[in-house]
């Protein structure tokens, strides 16, 4: 009964159940957190440019008759303990819009919003959208200047 193997087995099983319990407590500690926050976004200068792209296919209507587009234009990773109050001025977009059809120029209905995703030690991965959006319009003309 009290062989080394049996004892090892018991210790292993006990360790596993303790860790499972701890993981569950971790999950509980973040599950009820309220992650909502207010966000204010503004845009200064919006330009659309005509850029030849040789990497993509030539089928223009590849993505045609679109109901919804979502594109990430900026992102940031904030680690635990770092300043989580973001105050950016004159920031550029990190990723650009790429229009594979004809939906970008003159689009009057573009909404910018900020969302985030909190990674716990153990638990759910909530996706939160900040309250506060900003609506912009794209200009109807392509920018003539290449480096504007």
């Amino acid at each position: 009964m009290n062989t080394a193997l049996a004892r090892l087995n018991t210790i292993f099983a006990f360790t596993l159940s303790v860790m499972a319990g701890l993981t569950f407590l971790c999950f509980l500690s973040t599950f009820f957190n309220e992650h909502k926050a207010d966000v204010s976004i503004n845009t200064a200068k919006v330009i659309v440019k005509n850029v030849p792209d040789y990497s993509a296919g030539r089928e223009k209507n590849d993505l045609g008759f679109i109901k919804l587009n979502q594109v990430v234009v900026w992102d940031k990773i904030i680690r635990r303990g770092e300043n989580s109050i973001l105050d950016y001025r004159k920031a550029n977009t990190k990723y650009y819009f790429w229009d594979f059809g004809n939906g970008l120029r003159g689009n009057k209905n573009v909404t910018l919003s900020l969302s985030w995703n909190v990674i716990p030690n153990a638990g759910t991965l909530p996706k939160i959208m900040g309250t506060g959006q900003h609506k912009i319009e794209f200009p109807a003309e392509y920018s003539p200047n290449r480096f504007q």
């Binding site: 062989t3 999950f27 990773i77």
Partner: protein, 194 residues
């Protein structure tokens, strides 16, 4: 170690036939209940592999190697930008865990999307099948819904464990109208793989 094996064998030798059968059946029960739980999870979550292990560092600092992800894959839930999806590309054995960077949804409900690893500097087009520009819904194994890090493997990095979790944020835009590391995920129970 030799002593342990001997003890164990002695135990077996001392059993009569009935006890031996019972042990074998008991073992079979354990294996089959593990399989049942796994298959049951598959039904409940709608994902072909509800729990995956992260195999590489392309989603650091969110996911490190060895972390566990719990996936769901409900048909009616739309895929949105910022979500972490696990997808399997044709011709690649191991699924990849990355965040959705762009999506384009058509009137008829078909979705095309592009992914990127948080720790990679470019999007995933280089990882997709040659010539493939977008992912489609059929390639998605699941969306990450739950997460658990594995404390055992981090003995070396223990001091940074507490600060490395944080939050990832991104700005969405919604309009209604190299060398890369790739985060690979694997199914945990190899039993269920067959």
């Amino acid at each position: 170690m030799g002593m342990l094996d001997m003890d164990f064998l002695d135990d077996v030798r001392r059993m009569n036939k009935r006890q031996l059968y019972y042990q074998v059946l008991n073992f079979g029960m354990i294996v089959s209940s593990a399989l049942m739980i796994w298959k049951g999870l598959m039904v409940v979550t709608g994902s072909e592999s509800p729990i995956v292990v992260v195999l590489s560092g392309s989603m650091e600092p969110a996911f490190y190697r060895g972390d566990l992800l719990f996936l769901t894959n409900y048909r009616e839930e739309p895929i949105r930008v910022g979500e972490i999806v696990v997808f399997k590309i044709e011709g690649r054995e191991i699924p990849i865990v990355h965040r959705v960077l762009k999506i384009h949804e058509k009137e008829n409900g078909t979705v095309r999307f592009l992914t990127k690893g948080d720790n990679n500097s470019v999007d995933d087009r280089g990882l997709y099948a040659p010539g493939q520009l977008w992912l489609e819904k059929k390639e998605v194994v699941g969306r990450a819904r739950g997460f658990s890090e594995i404390p055992i493997k981090k003995t070396k990095k223990r001091h940074i464990v507490n600060v490395r979790r944080g939050c990832n944020m991104w700005v969405n835009v919604i309009t209604p109208t190299s060398r890369q590391r790739n985060a690979e995920a694997t199914l945990i129970p190899t039993v269920a793989r067959t």
